[in-house]
Each structure stands twice: as structure tokens, then as C-alpha cells.
Assembly symmetry: C2
Homo-oligomer: 367 residues x 2
């Protein structure tokens, strides 16, 4: 292998693939970045066996070849070559990569590429496209509700249901549920997969052009996207996702229309005091207002938030973190909150439309 | 105590004094912020017994009084009252503060102000003034060289020597020395004190108006400054500071003129590889260039940096972190490096003038 590449191209490609470098591994090759030169292109790849990222840049090739460089060290080093017009990479022997820039030579110990896992790209089987901004929004509105509990690994991912021209994304952690819908294009068929939340968050970080489309391609247990020459592949989670539809009540006794910001500010103030008391915040829903209250050794908060009520009065308590997370994600000026009783879940939906739905279980209190 | 204050004034005052709240203490009153109302003003104070910060804001006073609020909780809470035109604070009894805003009431548990340490302000005894930007610059150029070693507490501070119209600031940690000089105004006399580095960094964070002067007032073991209604008081360190002047060689055999950025970039690249080898970087100083080299299991770096040499060739090794820190702080386009032998300290000074001086001990190597 002997090539010349642009320092800035190399550095930015390394930064992108670095996200997939394995941090905790007993296999040193997974701490590396694979460089492979075929024709006039250098492909950099990294994987932690859950996600993989590949980026291809143009190279002036004198000899093809491949090797695995130590990921963290190589990333740090090439970051300091950003301003070099030409960086020469030469594989001197199987264990030594020479980097030449200006009048300087550097030698790095490298590993054989034979041990590096083969990153299989998927063929187009199931696919759909959507705008980058819609994808970012659907993830921002749901992924925070994924579980971090290792005992139910399937809940560490988001369910993607592709039906006709809609993507429904669902996250659930046992205490709350988040659902969001977005229009998609070119859906090849109806199918559903569960994508690890970590991969979704990493993909969002790669996206830079809001109004451009991205295409998701699914084959068996893999999901692949390509954005501006960067290929992102994630393993899918296997198992049965919760049948979320049957958790959502279809009828409600009480409907509250409330200003999202006003209610959120009030809950955040109550949370300051409630922190010591497991975030327990009590809501007394009356005809014209919700009384938001929290009590702990530090003090007590008591606020009234103006609302529009349809249906019966109600007292109910929540973990305020779950309410705040949902209200922050919702993003509209007004939301509707639907309730049945002090021991049934509440549902938060837009004032109009059905773009998102949050369901939160209450906390039982003796009052 | 019963007052009305502006929510934004209160919040920004609390943020400022919060910096002095004690984080690790067995005395709960030091985790608090003292509120004391005299006439038409509310003074907030916090101290961890090493530094103290006080800020006074205007209040609409119905009854004077004082109390101590839980610092972290109060800070979080009032941050969420920034948009309230009027916030009413009423001390209901010795243990309960009522906060009223809009139609809401909050009660916080508070402590008696009697236990709060008395923050004694110093009288003008020794004093000097300088521009805020000069103060920030002198601290940025020196404080990083302070020791963090508990066994020599005096080295955790910067020596301030005030002589005629100059402040000389000195920091030393046993491996390196940093000295910087700035013009001051209105120096009352020649004196010297040792100020804790932490206090200096906190003061820098309070400064917002580069071209405004700040006045430092010293009395016995205290140092005080006042900036825009915020009073900052720090305890001084007691003991004998190192006689730093006798460490600095007065004559040199070798003088190197080098581009600061070029040398720094080269050292930073070498450091990537040198990290595994205790940051050991070797410099071979020749007639027209320095050869910068580092070696470790990860690989080896070998770069030449163009220089202008006066005097003899020399090989010398350093902890590259110390060289990089000094070169980063220096900030000029070119610097001069002065050397005597491979076992004597090197000195870095501006290409012209005497504003700063860095001295770094070499590492002995067998070569």
C-alpha cells in the first residue's frame, strides 16, 4: 500500500469512522481503523460489532493494499495533519505504516487487516427514504424513552414500523412510551425492525443537510444508510417488541388543554424540590387550573397552571422527569393531556394532529 | 425579612456567588448562601473558608433580616424565576423562607444566619490596580504552572510581587517555572503575597469588561477585589515562596529562535506517540533545525523544525507536556529558547522584550 491523500480529507474521514471504534474490547483489532486501498480510493472502516462506519476518500494510488491502524492514536495524529496538502501513507511491512508529510517521517505500529471483521453490506431488500430533518425529529421525539436496562435488551432499541407511506417509531422503557409518525418515500414494503438507540443517535450526529433525503436499507438483521460517502451499518435487535398498541387506552374521562411551556416551567420548579423525594410531583386537576405540588425535606412548591378542562376533576402523581422529558420533546405551543383515573396512565398528544403520543404511568400515592 | 426583588437580578447574583459554595464540607451552613437585607439592598454571600464572594442587588424592602438558604437548591430554583418581574422573599420563621412569584408560593427550609462565618472585608492597606485584560493575561500565562501537590501547599498559589509600577506573577511546580510581568497603577507600596491558583481562576471568570480596571486590596492574610458590585475575597497562602530568581541561569551557551506555532505543532504530533513513554520527547538542536523525535511501542515520530541558531549544537530531552504548555501560553509568533547543556534547564522568552519567562527542567537520558 502506497498512497497520497489530502490531510484534511483524511482527518475528517477518520473523525467520522472513529465513532464506531470499540472502547471496551479484548480484541485489539476492534480498537483499530481499517485502511483499504482499491483503485483511486481509500476506504476507512471501524466497527464495534454492533455498529460499523465506513468512509471512502479519493487517493492518489501507487500501490493498493490494506492494514489496520491503532484507532485512537491514528485519529489524534491525523487531526494534527489537517493543514497538510499531501500526506503519504506507505505500508513498509506488515507491522509498520510510514506517514510522510512535509519533510517529516513517522512510523506507526499497525496490525494485519486479515483479523478485521468483514463488514458485509446489505442488498436492497426492504428500504425507505425520508428527509434528514424528519429523521432527526422522529429520533429526538422518541429515543429518550428507550430502556437502558440490560435485562430486556429489545427495549434498548426503537421499533420502526414501515407501513405504506409512514414510519412509526416507538420507544418504551416499562414506565413510559413514546410514539412518533413521519411520512416516508419509496417504502419498498411494509416491515418492522428494532434499531439500537445508540446507533440511531450516532446516525443523527452524521446528518448535516436537513433538506436532503436519506435512504435506509434493511436486510435480515442489518440496517444500512449512506450519507455523503459515509456508510453506516447497524445490527438490529432481535426478539419480540412489546405490543404497544394494546397499552394505549382508546377512551378518556378527562381532557386537559395546557400551554406546554408554562406547564413545563412549573414542573421544572417543582422538580428542584422533588429531587430528594424520587421526583414525585402531584397534580390536582381542577376546572380552570392544575395545582402542581411537590414536598420534601428541603421545602415545598405549590403552583397553579391555567388549563382548559373537559371532563372530571382528578388528582394524580408522576415521576416529574418523565413528564418533563415528554413535554420538552413535544415542541408545540399547546398539548392535550388525556386521563382516566389516578391509577391509569396519562397520554400526551398534540393539540391537533397525531404526530406524536406519550404515555406515562402514574405513581400511586395515598391521599 | 420581607423584600421584593427582580427575578433576573436575583438569579444572576446567585449564579455569581454560587462559585464560592463549599462542595465538600461537614458544615451544612457552608453549603448555603447567606441572604442579608439592610436598607434597600439584598446582599448574597457564599464562602468555603478559602474564598468568599458577595454580591449586592437592589431590593424593595418591607422588613430587614437575614437567613441562609440551601445553596445548590436555591440556585437551581431561582434560575427558573429569571423571567419573573417580581419575586417576593419572606422569612416566615427562623426555618422557613416563603418565595412568592405570580400566583405561586414556595416554601424552602432555611438555616439561621448566626452560624454563617463572618466575611471580614479588608481595609485598604496594600493595593494596586490593573486592566482586566492584563490580569486575565498574566494569570493565563502563569497559573498553569502552579503545583497541585498537597505536600507543598505554598506552590498551589501564584507569587504576586508588586514593585513600583509592575506586578510580577510567578508559578512553580518543581519541574517548571512561569514568570510574567504587567504594568500596574496606583501601587500603594512594594509588597508580595501568594494567592491560591483556584481563587485567581475564579476571579478571571468574574471579569467581563476587558478595558476596565480592577483594584486588588491586601490586608494581612486576605486579598479582596470588587468588580461591578461583586466582592471577591480570598485567603492568602502563608509560608516562604521559592527564591525563584536564583533558579534562572543568567548566561546561556545556545540561543534558538523558532516559530512558536511550527514548533508547537511538531511537539504535539510527537506527543501522540510519546504519551505511552511518559511524554518523553528528544530535541536534537543543529545549525538550521531542531530534530524532534519520540519513540514508543506505538511507533516513532521524527520531524525537523527550522530554526535560527546562535551558539553550540545540543541534544536534550523534555516532558513534552511542559514544553507545549509554555509555548501555548506564550502567544507570540516567534520565541527564543535559551540552553546551556543537556542537563541544565531551558528558558523560553519572547523574541523581544521581557514580558514572560518559562523555565523547564530537562529529563536525563542515556544516548
Amino acid at each position: 500500500m502506497k498512497i497520497i491523500v489530502n490531510g484534511n480529507d483524511l482527518s475528517s474521514a477518520v473523525m467520522k469512522v472513529s465513532k464506531a471504534i470499540s472502547l471496551k474490547t479484548t480484541n485489539p483489532v476492534l480498537e483499530g481503523i481499517k485502511l483499504s486501498v482499491v483503485g483511486d480510493s481509500l476506504t476507512l472502516s471501524a466497527t464495534d460489532m454492533e455498529i460499523a462506519i465506513e468512509k471512502t476518500i479519493i487517493s492518489d494510488t501507487f500501490m493498493e493494499g490494506k492494514t489496520v491502524v491503532p484507532g485512537k492514536l491514528f485519529a489524534e495524529f491525523v487531526k494534527k495533519l489537517e493543514n497538510e496538502e499531501q500526506v503519504e501513507l506507505v505500508l513498509e511491512d506488515e507491522n509498520k505504516l510510514k506517514i510522510v508529510y512535509g519533510a517529516s517521517e513517522v512510523f506507526l505500529s499497525v496490525l494485519s487487516a486479515d483479523q478485521f471483521p468483514n463488514i458485509e453490506k446489505t442488498n436492497r431488500e426492504n428500504a425507505f427514504s425520508l428527509l434528514q430533518k424528519d429523521f432527526k425529529d422522529i429520533i429526538a421525539k422518541t429515543a429518550f424513552s428507550c430502556s437502558s436496562d440490560e435485562s430486556r435488551p429489545i427495549l434498548k432499541g426503537c421499533l420502526f414500523e414501515i407501513n405504506e407511506s409512514f414510519l412509526t417509531c416507538v420507544a418504551i422503557d416499562g414506565f413510559r412510551l413514546a410514539v412518533c409518525n413521519k411520512k416516508v418515500k419509496n417504502a419498498s414494503s411494509s416491515f418492522s425492525v428494532v434499531v439500537p438507540a445508540r446507533a440511531l443517535n450516532e446516525i443523527c450526529r452524521l446528518l448535516e443537510n436537513d433538506d436532503q433525503e436519506i435512504t435506509f436499507i434493511n436486510e435480515r438483521n442489518k440496517f444500512m444508510i449512506e450519507v455523503d460517502g459515509t456508510v453506516f451499518i447497524t445490527r438490529l435487535l432481535e426478539g419480540n417488541f412489546v405490543n404497544y398498541k394494546q397499552i394505549i387506552p382508546s377512551e378518556f374521562i378527562t381532557t386537559v388543554k395546557v400551554s406546554r411551556n408554562g406547564f413545563l416551567s412549573s414542573l421544572e420548579r417543582a422538580t428542584v424540590v422533588a429531587k430528594e423525594a424520587k421526583n414525585l410531583v402531584k397534580l390536582d386537576i381542577k376546572e380552570n387550573y392544575i395545582n402542581v405540588s411537590a414536598n420534601s425535606e428541603s421545602g415545598n412548591v405549590n403552583e397553579n397552571v391555567i388549563i382548559n378542562l373537559e371532563g372530571k376533576d382528578l388528582s394524580i402523581a408522576f415521576n416529574s422527569k418523565y413528564l418533563c422529558d415528554a413535554l420538552k420533546a413535544a415542541g408545540d405551543e399547546f398539548v392535550n393531556i388525556y386521563l382516566n383515573s389516578s391509577i391509569s396512565p396519562c397520554v400526551i398528544k398534540p393539540y391537533s394532529g397525531e404526530e406524536y403520543l406519550y404515555l406515562i404511568l402514574p405513581i400511586r400515592i395515598n391521599s
